[in-house]
Symmetry: C2
Subunit: 187 residues, 2 copies
DNA sequence: CTATATTCATGACGATCATCATGATTGCCG
DNA sequence: CGGCAATCATGATGATCGTCATGAATATAG
């Protein structure tokens, strides 16, 4: 059962895509190779024709999903609004790969750590560019500080089982970031 | 091989203690019941005399380790300094249970989620009390915002494989929080 | 058009793990 | 002080999972 070269490329693309969603939704450990392949419309047999191991899949999925995420370049307030929304909190599978996967990276291979590091680096740079009104030192600090707060708030909000408190964490963090940027800008 | 009543209580205490360290260090999934028991100086056999399941151990360990963590009540700047230090980043096993375990909670049982929610609630309250100079609304916002930033920064710093960037994330987040609190206080 | 190489399906293997059964040791109540 | 009951050790069981072997089907090179 051989398929055309482009069908194979398409299969590979689909594997990375569904793996990205499944990993964000359930975590690396809770998703089996067979589950990924099934979600991609295949069986587990062909897996090792595409990837050398599950760890390899994880690293390549990370690189893929982080490269695809180019959000955060425009207006930082609008970005923070969307990022810190209940909608984003409730959509881990389709949401920010950093929020969904950073914490797990600690237990992954060097290749995965490296992919995540690059993703974080460019995300911080992107947020910095969204703050052109600040001078360089303030810009870097605001980019890193607000990014840490956004990621932390979404992770915390997803852990909380009380909807009111979860909403409040998002909302107050949004206000806190807003305040911080305004104050530094006006300085 | 029966042991005295207090020996059993001591065993149970030790199981919770080593489980707290192991879970923070390696994550819930990567730690087996047998590993916990061995680290506690026992074999896996007695486990189900103390806990009804691994999920039960996770929930009880969370409640235990979160209740034991009463840091953050004093000076917020000093707390943030220690929290956002390389030392804390490099000591997940003995560090803040929230930073080490929040992200994993999403995939755990309701009991575990509930324990974490209570831990977060009291941590936010504790940080709020450390900001008596602010009026109530500002205090709540600053507590939640800076806590989200602290947790996010440590999680991110632990994921990054470039020591310079990792240090920078900690340092800039510290400065960002410091700035934020100063500005609100002076308002 | 044919031979070869490749992609995926089926199925199996070995390891890990949560959980449970059994039994030995021995605290502890009467 | 003797018998009951509880705690832990040893060992087994069933399930899950990563990985690999084999074979069928066919795209593609010559």
């Amino acid at each position: 059962m051989k398929v055309s070269r482009e069908q194979m490329a398409e299969n590979r693309r689909r594997i990375l895509e569904v793996a990205g969603r499944l990993f964000r939704d359930k975590g690396f450990d809770a998703v089996s190779v067979a589950e990924v392949m099934k979600a991609a419309g295949l069986t587990h047999g062909g897996f090792y024709g595409h990837f050398s191991s599950k760890d390899d899949l994880i690293a390549q999925t990370l690189a893929d999903v982080l490269a695809a995420d180019s959000t955060g370049g425009g207006d930082l307030r609008a970005y923070a609004d969307a990022y810190l929304s209940p909608r984003h909190r409730d959509n881990a599978a389709g949401g920010c790969p950093t929020a969904g996967l950073v914490a797990d990276i600690r237990h992954q291979t060097p290749a995965a750590r490296s992919a995540m590091t690059e993703g974080l680096r460019s995300q911080i740079d992107r947020i910095g560019k969204a703050l052109p009104e600040l001078d360089p030192a303030d810009r870097r600090r605001a980019a890193i500080g607000s990014w840490a707060a956004m990621v932390g708030a979404v992770i915390i909000a997803r852990a909380i089982d009380d909807p009111a408190l979860s909403d409040e964490v998002l909302e107050q963090t949004r206000a806190w970031i807003d305040d911080g940027i305004s104050q530094v800008s006006a300085r």
